[in-house]
């Protein structure tokens, strides 16, 4: 069912980046509905799939991503849990060992820190330390929050902690198309997969085929073609990078934009191939830079291309501090399309241009309004 050709076309169209590439008759879905549909189709396909986590069965159904599942599949396959992330993760692993395929949902990525032992010491290691005699087909969904004062403990992007660990896959789709295809792929994968969602991506809409399909693990996607600089945007920063590419067009800089989609395994071939042409790489993450996903991508590209060609490399992400709640400081904490464009241009021109594009209404970020 996997259809990579389709996926290339859809991903760009989802963000309106390649005008005319989306056939008019295509169905449009929100990221939220794409996640829900993937879970629904996987549950229908395989009775071993179940969904649980805090509040998956409550009236808000995790932003709607679990809406209707309880009614359709019943409380044995869809249930809310006690507030016990550590034990519930361990239980999920036990279920997986017994042949179930759990999707464990966390409304914030920050709460994964309570489940670290089970995820890192057990889920990621079981297959290896038991000599290949067991599999842990576990999907852990978790969300990165942003804005409205969610602050220190509700805004972290911790995906690189898991990229560090062999034995657990990490995926961070940025379009509704990939949201659906990656969740289906994660559920069918016999290994533990951390599925990262960004709250602001939940509002994205884009074409999503109705039929079930998967987006192959370990394959990145070129979402805009250009020759001057390669922008790699992770998770929500993919959206900001595509906007940055538009700003850059206005000053004659052609950016190639890549969505890695899967952070582990990471498709360094696609990224390095692009950088070999552009000679310039800017990786933008929705996380800190130290020991982060951006550092990993830059390091792998540098290892691959050193001596092959001259390189200009840069990373952007959270300011190296705790996320503040007051809006003025919070704005400074995050990169955005304009600051990304400015950094990319500096990279291309090899000087501090002192340029920050004026904000264009068509390229504004979503402003998230609380209370949560």
């Amino acid at each position: 069912m996997s259809s990579p050709q389709l996926s290339d076309r859809h991903a760009g169209a989802a963000l309106g980046i390649r005008p005319g590439s989306a056939p008019a008759a295509e169905r449009t879905l929100s990221f939220v509905d794409a996640v829900r549909e993937a879970a629904d189709q996987e549950m229908a396909r395989d009775p071993a799939v179940l969904v649980f986590g805090l509040d998956v069965d409550d009236p808000k159904a995790i932003q709607g991503t679990c809406r209707g599942l309880l009614e359709k599949y019943g409380p044995e396959r869809v249930f809310g849990t006690p507030l016990s992330e550590d034990a519930m993760t361990g239980a999920a692993i036990g279920m997986a060992l017994a042949g179930l395929r759990p999707i464990h949902v966390h409304i914030r990525m920050d709460f994964l820190l309570l489940a670290m032992n089970q995820l890192v010491n057990v889920a990621a290691k079981s297959r290896y330390m038991y000599g290949g005699r067991v599999n842990i087909p576990l999907v852990v969904r978790s969300m990165i929050g942003k804005s409205w004062g969610q602050g220190a403990q509700h805004s972290q992007g911790l995906h690189s902690l898991f990229m560090h660990v062999p034995g657990i896959k990490v995926v961070a789709p940025s379009t509704p198309y990939d949201a659906k295809g990656c969740l289906a792929a994660a559920v069918r994968d016999d290994n533990p997969v951390l599925y990262v969602e960004h709250r602001l991506l939940h509002f994205q809409k884009g074409p999503v085929p109705e039929a079930s399909y998967t987006v192959t693990p370990g394959k990145a996607r070129v979402t805009a073609v250009g020759e001057d600089v390669t922008l790699v945007g992770i998770s929500y920063m993919q959206v900001e990078c595509l906007r940055a590419a538009k700003y850059l067009e206005s000053v004659g800089v052609k950016a190639e934009v890549i969505d890695p989609i899967w952070l582990s395994p990471l498709d360094i071939d696609t990224i390095a191939e692009s950088v070999e042409r552009t000679g310039r790489l800017l990786v933008v993450d929705t996380a800190w830079l130290n020991c982060g996903a951006a550092a990993e991508i830059v390091a792998q590209v540098a290892e691959r291309l050193q001596g092959v060609r001259d390189l200009r490399l840069k990373r952007m992400g959270f300011a190296p501090t705790t996320c503040p709640t007051t809006p003025g400081l919070e704005d400074l904490f995050y990169p955005n399309a304009r600051t990304i464009a400015a950094a990319a241009r500096d990279l291309v021109e090899e000087r501090a241009c002192g340029w920050l594009p004026a904000e264009r209404p068509d390229l504004q970020s979503i402003v998230f309004k609380g209370p949560f």
Binding site: S84, G151, A319, T325, P327, L329
Partner: protein, 321 residues
């Protein structure tokens, strides 16, 4: 005593009603978890505390912060994200702190401060035996491993700590019976060896008395105590409004709690003149706090990169020694 309790209750209720009112203007860009309906728990327990005693709380911490004597102006300014806020606009509504008043912090991650409170109590036991710690948390927090683990440690070390579980019946939209196989939190405290009591969260005077009694033991080396206090959250889990339209609880469920509202009942029991005097003073104080927040500046952009590490000897470190 009653007048003081009323002042504290009325002040918290009115402050949060103002927060809810102002929220519509988007000046408070912070997720607010209001305590409206639950104020008497913090007020009753804190009435039995001394200034040197210490409390730890949760993201639903406005009532606790004020009941323990946290600075009102600094709290409202914090909700506004201003430089004069209790964390300079860095922590927001969920991370209120006022060390001078013994308010030692609040976490947005459920359950975490329970253990921090025990650690603080360990330090007090050895270094400041005149003080105790009170740890406030919700019914949901008792499902986290840290609750069971902390109870065990507190008993093992006979720590001067009172655990106060504010059981409002829900964790977000899920009732206790759908989360706990045996919905008896006191039994779990007892099983760990912590003496416990189940109390009425609307009886502010009774709470103050029972806290006084329990702390008499805690203060004299008797080890930890546990209270499960029945209470009710009148508004939505997070945000300024009500949430009965969501359908997870019936609006009628709130009826008895509103009928037993300790704020109104205590007010009604006071001589009319005394009551209006208190209310007028509180209104003035609250209006001044909002005016202070409005007039305060936002933090300078340089503040983004301060407070990450403590770099040199400062007054704060001296105070902690």
């Amino acid at each position: 005593m009653r007048a003081q309790l009323y002042r504290s209750l009325y002040r918290i209720r009115r402050l949060e009603e103002e927060v809810a009112r102002v929220y519509a203007t988007d000046k408070i860009k912070s997720p607010v978890h209001l305590s409206i309906g639950q104020e008497a728990v913090s007020v009753g327990v804190c009435a039995a505390l001394r200034p040197q005693d210490v409390v730890f709380g949760t993201y639903r911490g406005h009532a606790l912060y004020l009941a323990k004597g946290g600075d009102l102006n600094a709290m409202v300014a914090e909700l506004y994200g201003k430089a004069t806020g209790c964390t300079k606009g860095k922590g927001g509504s969920m991370h209120l702190i006022d060390p001078e008043a013994g308010v030692m912090g609040m976490s947005a991650v459920v359950g975490t401060t329970i253990a921090n409170a025990a650690g603080y109590a360990y330090a007090l036991k050895h270094r400041r035996p005149d003080a105790v710690v009170v740890s406030f948390f919700g019914d949901g927090a008792t499902e986290e491993g840290v609750f069971a683990e902390t109870l065990n440690f507190a008993v093992l070390k006979q720590l001067p700590v009172l655990f106060v579980c504010e059981n409002n019946g829900y964790a977000i939209h899920t009732p206790q019976i759908r989360r706990q196989g045996k919905a008896d939190i006191c039994a779990r405290a007892e099983a760990a060896g912590v003496p416990s009591a189940r109390l009425n969260g609307n009886d502010v005077v009774g709470l103050a008395r029972r806290t006084e009694e329990a702390l008499a033991e805690v203060r004299t080396g008797g080890g930890p105590w546990f209270f499960e206090v029945a209470t009710y959250r009148w508004r939505e889990h997070v945000g300024p409004g009500e949430d009965y339209q969501l359908g997870y609880r019936a609006a009628a469920e709130c009826g008895p709690w509103v009928a037993a509202d300790p704020v109104r009942r205590l007010g009604d029991a006071l001589p009319a003149g005394e009551r209006t005097g208190i209310e007028a003073e509180v209104e003035t104080e609250i209006a001044a706090a909002f005016a202070f927040a409005e007039a305060s500046p936002f933090p300078d952009s340089a503040e983004l990169m301060t407070d990450i590490f403590k770099e040199e000897f400062d007054v704060l470190t001296a105070a902690q020694r």
